[in-house]
C-alpha cells in the first residue's frame, strides 16, 4: 500500500514503539526513504522523547528520598505503637 504523509503521521507513535505490523513497517519505511518531511517529523519526535526521558529533564526536590523514608518509618513506628 502506498502511504501518504498523513497516514505516516497517524502511525508514528506505534512505529516508534515497534508495534506496527511488518507490512505497515515496510510501507512506512518506503515512504520515509523518499519523504524528507516525514523523516524530519519522525527524527524530531524521537529526539524530543529521548530528551524528555533523560533523568536530567526532571530533577527531584532536594532531600525527597530522605523525607519519604522518614515519613514511612514514622508511620510504621506509630502503627507498631498502637497495635
Amino acid at each position: 500500500m502506498t502511504l501518504n504523509c498523513k497516514h505516516v503521521w497517524a502511525q508514528i507513535s506505534s512505529y516508534i514503539d515497534g508495534s506496527v505490523t511488518p507490512e505497515m513497517k515496510q510501507d512506512i519505511e518506503r515512504h520515509l526513504a523518499h519523504c524528507r518531511y516525514c523523516s524530519a517529523v519522525l527524527d524530531s519526535t524521537r529526539n524530543i522523547l529521548v530528551l524528555v526521558g533523560d533523568d536530567r529533564t526532571f530533577e527531584l526536590p532536594v532531600g525527597y528520598s530522605k523525607r519519604l523514608h522518614d515519613r514511612l518509618q514514622a508511620s510504621m513506628d506509630s502503627a507498631d505503637s498502637t497495635s
Binding site: 514503539d17 517529523v41 519526535t45 522523547l49 533523568d55
Partner: protein
C-alpha cells in the same frame, strides 16, 4: 526483537520473583525491608504524581501518602500485576483525587473525553538537527521541555511520563492508569504529536536562533 522481548520478560519475571520473596518476608515481620522494596520506584512515584498535579510539594506529599498506603495494604497485593505497577496505580489514584480537589473539575481520567476536537498533526520540518542529550545541561532546554509537558492535559501527561520517562510498557501503563491499552495508545499518540508540534518549531533547524539564544544566554559557552 523477539529475542529482546524474551530477555525483557525474563528480567521482569526475575524481578517479580525477587520482590515476591521480599514481600513475604515483610508480611512475616521484617517490615524494614519495605524501604528497600520501594527504593527503585521512588523517582517514578514522584514523577507520576507530578505529572498529574504539576506542583512539587503536592507531588512529594502524594508519593509519601502512596507508599504509606501501599505498606498498610501490602497484604492485599496479590501479585497479579507487578509490584511497581500496583504502587504506581495507588500513586496515580492519590494524585487524581488531589487534582480534583484542587481544580474542582470532574476530569474523567478513565474515559476519552476528547474524541472530537484537537488537531493531532505534527509540525512539518524540512530537516532536523539532532539535539544530543548533553544539551540538557542547559537549563533553558530543560525548561522548554518541562513547559511543553505542563501544557498537555493531565491524562496525556500521565501516559507520556509512564511510558516515555519511566519506560513502562503499554500493558503496564494501562494497568497503572486503569484504562485499556487502546486508549493508552491513543493518548500516547496525541501526547507525543503534541510535544513534537510544540517543541520542534522552537528547537528545530530553521530556528537555529533558539540554540544560538541558548548559547548567548549561557554566556557564549
Amino acid at each position: 526483537m523477539a529475542d529482546k522481548d524474551g530477555k525483557q520478560a525474563a528480567i521482569t519475571a526475575e524481578i517479580a520473583a525477587r520482590e515476591a520473596a521480599i514481600i513475604a518476608r515483610i508480611l512475616a515481620g521484617e517490615r524494614e525491608l519495605f524501604h528497600e522494596l520501594i527504593r527503585p520506584y521512588e523517582r517514578g512515584l514522584y514523577l507520576a504524581a507530578f505529572s498529574v498535579v504539576q506542583h512539587e510539594a503536592d507531588a512529594e506529599d502524594i508519593a509519601q501518602d502512596a507508599v504509606i498506603k501501599a505498606y498498610k495494604g501490602l497484604k492485599n497485593f496479590r501479585g497479579e500485576a507487578r509490584f511497581s505497577t500496583w504502587l504506581m496505580a495507588i500513586t496515580l489514584n492519590e494524585a487524581r483525587s488531589r487534582w480534583r480537589k484542587t481544580n474542582g473539575e470532574q476530569l474523567d481520567f478513565l474515559s476519552d473525553g476528547d474524541d472530537s476536537g484537537g488537531d493531532y498533526t505534527p509540525s512539518v520540518l524540512a530537516d532536523w538537527r539532532y539535539i544530543p542529550s548533553e544539551e540538557l545541561e542547559r537549563k533553558e532546554l530543560r525548561q522548554a521541555l518541562q513547559q511543553a509537558i505542563a501544557k498537555l492535559s493531565p491524562e496525556y501527561r500521565e501516559v507520556l511520563i509512564l511510558r516515555d520517562v519511566r519506560g513502562m510498557s503499554i500493558a503496564e501503563t494501562a494497568e497503572a492508569t486503569g484504562v485499556n491499552e487502546g486508549l493508552v495508545k491513543v493518548r500516547l499518540f496525541r501526547a507525543r504529536i503534541t510535544m513534537q508540534k510544540m517543541l520542534a518549531p522552537q528547537l528545530g533547524p530553521r530556528q537555529r536562533g533558539f540554540m544560538g539564544w541558548l548559547t548567548r544566554k549561557a554566556g557564549g559557552r
